[in-house]
Symmetry: C2
Subunit: 245 residues, 2 copies
Amino acid sequence: MSAPRNHSEKQTNNMFSHPLLDANPGLWAGIVTTLRNKHYNNGDRIVLHGDTADSLWLVLKGWIKLTRQTPDGKESIIGLCTEGEMFGEAALFSHANYPYTAEVAGNSSELVGIPSTTIRSLVSKDPSLSAQVMTMLSERTSQAQLKLEHMTTMSAAQRFGCFLLRLCNTQLDGIKTLQIPIEKHILAAYLGMKPETLSRSQQQLKPLGISVAGHIITIRHIEKLRDFVCNSCSESGNCSTDAAS
Amino acid sequence: MSAPRNHSEKQTNNMFSHPLLDANPGLWAGIVTTLRNKHYNNGDRIVLHGDTADSLWLVLKGWIKLTRQTPDGKESIIGLCTEGEMFGEAALFSHANYPYTAEVAGNSSELVGIPSTTIRSLVSKDPSLSAQVMTMLSERTSQAQLKLEHMTTMSAAQRFGCFLLRLCNTQLDGIKTLQIPIEKHILAAYLGMKPETLSRSQQQLKPLGISVAGHIITIRHIEKLRDFVCNSCSESGNCSTDAAS
């Protein structure tokens, strides 16, 4: 190993902090040399829509924007992935292409790429990994369906509030400071609203103790935000944002 | 077997026409006695949101509405399943609950229920079935993400047109007559629009050769409808509605 010891240890720690690897470190330790830990800068493109899906990507740090173009020239932001999430699930299937372009959306980003041959071989041999991957795919479906529901049952301010609550992870109450280095028009598009609607939503959340200063958002009372948002969501009480850590 | 021979043969034929069973009939033949072929009437409830997910359900005939309630009393229609589709994927995971209520939405319906213990045991033993289930889960995610995209890139008339194209399956051009025995307010809610917007959308599609008479919809030129709809969709050219049969 030519890498300095500290650097190598840092990478390994980071990698195994991701939920996919954290659940079964023994399984991954055997193939750790095939995993690629990569650093990217703001605006870097990681994968291109239509390219062969040769890796499954785990996000260790930063924000990744998943986009598609329509033939009549509209860009659609279909996902924003951050720490602990993954993208490129097409790599689980043979002869599949990436169904979106993935680019770094804010500051630098650190990812792990798992070659498609490695992940497919592991999944076909290990029923527990196969079950874990199916659970993750199923959760991804539920999230997309819930986001669709929110487009009709929630106001714009509630949808923005729900996005913030998800970033609080399982913290149930108290104060939380979030750093979201994403341009306003990208975040607004992801939430299905215009940038001016996002600005109005931020104003609407002020009385609940939410303050926005550049890319820093402070939530003074998570429980108040939850009351405001979750009453209009059918997953209320079952959602990952409700679960105690 | 006490069932009349013809009845039994009809059930088996129907069951094996579903894509999940059709792809690997040998695998399912061994456990066919554990599968439950059931008939339901309009309005019948099949599963209740929050109940233990004890079966995966395959739709052989009819329409199933998947709904959830928000704490503040709004009903959200998160899915409409018809022939060849499935619901209740939560049954693939141990100790999971149904994330929605499923009810028959129009006329009668015929379903096959696969007990959760049966499907979980098969999936854990058979890597090809496991891969097939992962593909189906991944397609479900893609569909939900695409529907989200359409909420911002497409007009209401285009979204209604896309719904019709999906029911044409892989028929690329020519005339198609569809029977959609679903009340207008349910279909409108599923498409994320008001009933009056759905009526206006039907009017807008008339010049393209779409006529609506009660629950019968005639599409005179599938290719014209595709031109109108798919130009605003990032899946254009890759979609199941484009694939030649």
